[in-house]
Symmetry: C2
Subunit: 628 residues, 2 copies
C-alpha cells in the first residue's frame, strides 16, 4: 500500500515565503535535518571524500544546537555504534564514512542493523560531482573506488558500484545525490523511509555538494521527521483499526487464559509503553520473545517468562500451552526468535499476530484466518486500550507453581562457572540499568534472567555478529548522554530520581578481540562503562558446535587488565581493572558494582571461565547448528 | 578473447583410471587444491558455517603437507593478511569466513585486492544445502543472513544475496557450490580465474558439503594450477608475439634514449625477473611507477627514479622528457599511479604500453596507434630477450647531473621531522629486506627513497585503505616463513646467504588504531617484525586536505609502548618497545636495527612527530584531493 509522500503532502505549504528564505549549504541541511529528527551524536571516521561534509558540523547553527561528533577507531565500529545509538534512543543512528575503504568496512554493521530492524543512516562521501558528469574524469580510476572488472585501463569505473551493492539488499532506501534541486527531498525520503521501515538507509553525497547552496524549504514544511509522523503518513483507515480492535477485544473477552508475547518490533515502532499499559490494564499473562527482552516489565507477577518455542524453559512452554489466546505483538519470525521455528500452542487456541504491517488472526480449531493490512501498530494499540472494558474480562488462569529461586551456596574459593555466574549475575542489575550482551555463550544464559523493571536489554540476538556489542555500547552510552533516563517509565517510579543508570556490557574474549580498540573511545568521550570480559580462552560457542580442542577455536591470551592502560589510561587513574577467578571474588565485585554510586569511571572485570564450560541453553542451540 | 578452459583441455585425460580412484571429501579437495597451488597458509576466523570445512585441515593428508591455519582477530584482518600473503608469494592468499557477519566484515579487504590486482580467494561457508533446495527451510530466516527486504515474515530470504553483492564487482570469478558433481570444477575455475586475471575470487560452500565425497579427478589431471599454466592456457599466437617482439626491437634499435617504466602488473604476472634481465641486457634507463616500486633494482646506476607524471621529483620528470621511446611494462592506469593522469612525454617520443592483456604503440609525432591483444606478458618478454641483438643498440643518453645526496647534519637533540626522517630512514634498509608502508603521510615520502637491491616494497598505493598494512604484514610474514628469500634474485648475489631478511612495517597512529589487535598474531605465530608507529596525533593526511585543527582529525592518544604487553607479551620478554623523540635516538635505533642479527623478536618503535609535519610530496597530492 503506497503511503502518501511527505513531500507531496507538504510541497505547497510554504511557497509564500520562498522569496524571503535564505539558502543554506547542503552540509548544513544534512545536520539540521538530523538534529530535527533527534539525532544529536553522529559517528564515523574522516576520509578524503567526507571532510567537506564534516566541516559543516562546525557551522554556527549546528554547533549551537549541540551536535556531537564521535570519531571511532574504524568504520565497522562506527556502524556498530550508530546501531547501538538507535537501539537505545529509537532515533536514527548516523554513521559517516568515505566511500569504498570506509563504507565497505562498515557494511557488516549495516547488514546487522538491516537484519534486526534498526534505524541506521549511512552517509557516504563520494567523488565530486564532476566525476559523475564529465566524460573525461568519469573515466578515471579514483582511489577508494574499485576499477571496472575488465579492461580497467580503458573502461570507466562504475561510480555507483557500492550503491548498487547495498540497494535493496541491506538498505531500505538508497539515494545517490546527483542534483542539488532534488537533494534535500532525497535526504528526507531516506530518513522518512528509515523511520517507516525501521531499517537502514544510505545517502551518497558527492564531496563538492556539501558546500553548495540549497533551498531549506523542507525544514520549514516539516520541522521534524519522526516515527509518529511517518506512521500517520500512511493511508490507513480509522474504520479498519476500529474493526480490528473490536475483533481483538471480542477474542479477549471470550478468553479464559490469554497470553501476550512482547516482541522486538514493539520497541522499534515506538509502542512499548502502549503494550505495557495494555498488559497492566488487562493483567494478562505476558511473555517475552528472545529478541523482545525487556519490552515488558519482567519484575511483575503477570510476567511468565521468555517464550522461544521448544528452546524455552520447560515451565514456560507448559504455561503457554494452557493459554487459549495468543497475542503476539511486534512479531519477527526468524530461527533465533522462534526457537528454530518451533512455536507451538494449544490446539484450541486462537493466535493473533499484530505486526506493524499486518494484523492476522488464526483460529487453530477452525483453521480460519483473518488478515488485515496497513495500519500502524501504535494507533491500533491505543484504540484497543481506549475501547477496552475491563469489566468484560473473564480470565480464569490456572494456578501455576512459581519457579523456586535456586539457592546460591557456593564455596567462595570455587571457580566461576557458567552455572554459578547465571545465578549471581542478574542480582547485580538495578532497575533502570542498561544491560548489553555480546553474541556468545553467556548470551544464551541470559534467556533465564528475570530483569528488574525499567532495565533495558540490548543484544544482537539474530544476526549474531561477534564484536558488535562493544562499539554498540559506545553508541548506547552516547545515547544515554543525549537522552538520559529515556528508557525509564517515570510513572512507574521504580527508579529513584537521583539514580544514574549503569551501562553494563558483557563480552566473550574472542568477540572482544574483534573490536577491542573501541574501548579507547569510552575514555576519549567520557562514557562510563562496566565491562565484563569472559575469559574462556577462545570461541566457546564454536567449540560447542565443532572442534572443541581445535586450534582454529583458540585465540591469543591477552593481558586484559592492561588493555585500558595501553589504550589511553596512561596514568592508570581513569579506569579500574581486575581479574576474577573465584566465585567469592565475583560476588564481592558484583555487589560493589550494584551499590557503587561512582559512575564516572570505566571498570573492566576479567572473569576466568573454563574453556568448555557451556551454558545448558547454548547446548540446545549448538545442536540445531551442527549442520553436517 | 576466450581462453580454452583447463577443464575442457583436461577433461578426458584420466578417464581410464576412474574406477580405481577413491573419492575424497570436498573439504579435503579444497585444501589439496590450495596446497597444489602453493598456498601453504590460510587465514580466517571460525564461524558456524565454516567449521565443517576447517575440520578438514586436520585430515592426515592435509596435515602431512603442512597446511597452516592462521586465525586472525577479525575477518577484515584475515582478508588483509591474505592480500599480504599473495603480494609477497605471488600465490593465492586464502581467507575463510562464515557467511554474512564474517564475509561482509572482510569485504573491504577483498575490494582492495580487486583494486590492486591481488590474488585473493575468499571461501565462504554458507547454510547447508537443504536451505537451498527444501522449500520449507529455504523460507527460514537464518542467523547471519539478512532477511528479505519486505514482508520478511512471509518472504524467503535470498540465500545468495551476498554472492550477488560481490559478483562482477569485487570478484573476477564467483561460484556458489550447489552440485557435488560440478563442485571441484567450480573450485578449479575460480582458482584458474584468479591467476588469469590476478584479481580476487569467491567460492561459497554449503556447510554440509565439506564432508561429502567427490571424485578428485582434477587433482590428477591438473596436479597444480599456477600462473604459468593459466597463461599458457590462453589462445595466443606465437606468430603475433614474434610480430610484436620484432616491432618492439625495431623501435629499440632506432632509439637514442629509450626508457623503461616498470609497473605493478609485472610483479602480479610473474615477470619481474624477465624485466630485470631485459634492463640488465640493454642497460636502458629505467624508472619505476608509484605502484611498481622495487620491481626494478633501484641500486643500479641505470635506475633513474620514480616517475609519476607531474607529481614526480622534478629531476625525474625532466630526464624522462628527454627520452624518445617509453616502454611501459605492466601498466596500470589510475590516479595514484599516473600522477592524477599527468604522464607527459616528449612530443617526439613513441610510447609503448605492454600489458598482460594488450600491446599498444603510440607514435606521438604521427599520432599512429598500433594495438595487439591477447598474449602473455611473460612469454612476450622472454621472446624479446631471446631475439635481442645488443650489437644493434645505439643509445646516446645525455649526461645527467647526479642528484646530490643531501647531507645529514641534524642536532641529535632536535625533534624527529618528516624531512630528517626521510633522509635517515632509507639507510636502515638492507638488501633483501621487506619494507611495508601503511597508507599515510610517510608513504608519500617513500617516493624519493632509493631502495637497496632485492628489497621488496609492499604498500597499498591506489585503494589506500588505512589499517590494511599491519594485518597485511602478518600475511607477508607468513609468506616469508613459507617461502623464505623467495623475492631475492640469488644470481645477483647482493644478499648474503646467511642474511635473514627483515620485515619492516611503518604505520601512522590513526591507521594503526584501525587494526591494532592483529599485532597479537605476530606474537601468537612467532612472526618477527619491526614496526614503526608514527605518532603524529591523528589523521595527518586528512589534516593536509581539510580541517587541520578539527576534532574529527584527532584520535585518542595511546600508550603505544604498552600495546604489545597488553596484547599478549605478558612477561614483557618477547618484544622490545621504545619511544623515540629526538633525531639522535632515531639514528641510534635505526642503526641498531640495521645491524642487529636477532630476528626472533618483535620490535615496536613509537616515533613522535608533529601533527602538522607533512611531507612535501603529500602536499601535492593533498592539493589534488581538495575537491571543493
Amino acid at each position: 500500500m503506497a503511503p502518501v509522500s511527505f513531500l507531496d503532502r507538504t510541497a505547497n505549504i510554504i511557497t509564500d515565503s520562498e522569496s524571503t528564505r535564505s539558502q543554506i549549504t547542503l552540509g548544513q541541511y544534512v545536520f539540521e535535518r538530523l538534529l530535527s529528527c533527534g539525532t544529536r551524536t553522529v559517528f564515523g571516521v574522516p576520509g578524503d571524500f567526507n571532510l567537506s561534509l564534516l566541516e559543516h558540523m562546525y557551522d554556527e547553527e549546528i554547533e549551537n544546537q549541540g551536535l556531537k561528533w564521535v570519531g571511532t577507531c574504524n568504520e565497522l565500529n562506527a556502524a556498530y555504534a550508530a546501531d547501538g545509538y538507535s537501539r537505545y534512543t529509537n532515533n536514527i543512528g548516523c554513521v559517516i564514512t568515505t566511500f569504498g575503504v570506509g563504507e565497505l568496512s562498515a557494511l557488516n554493521g549495516l547488514a546487522g542493523a538491516f537484519a534486526e530492524d534498526v534505524k541506521v543512516l549511512h552517509i557516504v562521501g563520494v567523488t565530486p560531482s564532476k566525476f559523475h558528469t564529465d566524460a573525461v574524469v568519469s573515466h578515471h580510476n579514483v582511489h577508494h573506488l574499485v576499477p571496472a572488472p575488465k579492461n580497467s585501463n580503458f573502461e570507466a569505473p562504475l561510480h555507483r558500484v557500492y550503491h548498487d551493492m547495498v540497494k535493496d539488499r541491506i538498505s531500505c532506501s538508497t539515494e545517490f545525490l546527483d542534483n542539488l534541486e532534488t537533494a534535500c527531498d532525497q535526504i528526507d525520503k531516506v530518513i522518512s523511509d528509515i523511520f517507516r521501515h525501521s531499517k537502514p538507509g544510505y545517502i551518497f553525497i558527492p564531496a563538492d555538494f556539501a558546500d553548495k547552496l540549497v533551498d531549506p524549504v523542507n525544514l520549514f514544511a516539516m520541522p521534524t521527521i519522526n516515527l509518529d509522523m511517518v506512521l500517520s503518513g500512511n493511508v490507513f483507515d480509522e474504520r479498519r483499526i476500529q474493526i480490528a480492535s473490536d475483533l481483538l477485544l471480542q477474542l479477549i473477552y471470550k478468553s479464559k487464559a490469554p497470553a501476550v508475547i512482547g516482541d522486538v518490533l514493539c520497541d522499534r515502532f515506538g509502542c512499548t509503553n502502549q503494550l505495557r499499559e495494555f498488559v497492566q490494564k488487562t493483567q494478562m499473562w505476558n511473555f517475552s520473545s528472545m529478541m523482545g527482552r525487556s519490552i515488558l516489565d519482567e519484575s511483575k507477577p503477570t510476567f511468565r517468562g521468555v517464550y522461544n518455542g521448544s528452546e524455552s524453559e520447560s515451565q514456560v512452554s507448559s504455561i503457554i500451552q494452557n493459554c487459549d489466546l495468543i497475542l503476539h505483538f511486534g512479531a519477527i519470525r526468524n530461527e533465533m526468535n522462534t526457537g528454530h521455528y518451533s512455536f507451538s500452542f494449544s490446539p484450541n487456541s486462537t493466535i493473533v499476530e499484530i505486526h506493524p504491517d499486518y494484523f492476522k488472526i488464526y483460529d487453530s480449531l477452525s483453521g480460519k484466518k483473518t488478515h488485515i493490512e496497513g495500519f500502524p501498530l501504535k494507533s491500533f494499540l491505543q484504540t484497543v486500550i481506549e475501547c477496552l472494558d475491563v469489566q468484560k474480562l473473564n480470565f480464569g488462569y490456572p494456578d501455576v507453581v512459581k519457579k523456586q529461586a535456586a539457592s546460591i551456596s557456593y564455596d567462595p574459593d570455587s571457580p566461576v562457572t557458567q552455572s554459578n555466574l547465571q545465578l549471581v549475575f542478574p542480582k547485580c542489575l538495578n532497575p533502570g540499568d542498561i544491560f548489553v550482551t555480546e553474541t556468545g555463550s553467556f548470551q544464551f544464559a541470559v534467556r533465564d534472567f528475570v530483569f528488574p523493571s525499567n532495565l533495558k536489554y540490548i543484544s544482537q540476538g539474530f544476526y549474531l555478529s561477534i564484536g558488535m556489542a562493544l562499539p554498540a555500547a559506545l553508541g548506547i552510552g552516547c545515547g544515554m548522554v543525549d537522552y538520559p533516563r529515556q528508557h525509564i517509565n517515570e510513572v512507574e517510579n521504580t527508579v529513584p530520581k537521583d539514580y544514574i543508570p549503569r551501562l553494563v556490557l558483557t563480552e566473550g574474549d574472542g568477540a572482544a578481540q574483534m573490536t577491542i580498540q573501541e574501548l579507547s573511545s569510552f575514555l576519549r568521550y567520557n562514557i562510563p562503562l562496566e565491562i565484563f570480559i569472559w575469559n574462556n580462552d577462545g570461541y566457546t560457542v564454536e567449540r560447542a558446535i565443532k572442534g572443541p580442542t581445535r586450534a582454529y577455536n583458540d585465540i591469543m591470551p591477552w593481558n586484559w587488565t592492561k588493555i585500558l592502560h595501553a589504550l589511553g589510561d596512561i596514568s592508570e587513574t581513569k579506569t579500574q581493572n581486575c581479574k576474577i577467578e573465584t566465585f567469592g571474588q565475583l560476588s564481592k565485585h558484583l555487589n560493589a558494582l550494584k551499590l557503587n554510586d561512582n559512575r564516572a569511571t570505566i571498570k573492566l572485570l576479567e572473569v576466568k571461565l573454563e574453556r568448555m564450560d557451556i551454558p545448558e541453553q547454548l547446548k540446545i542451540m549448538a545442536k540445531a547448528c551442527r549442520h553436517t
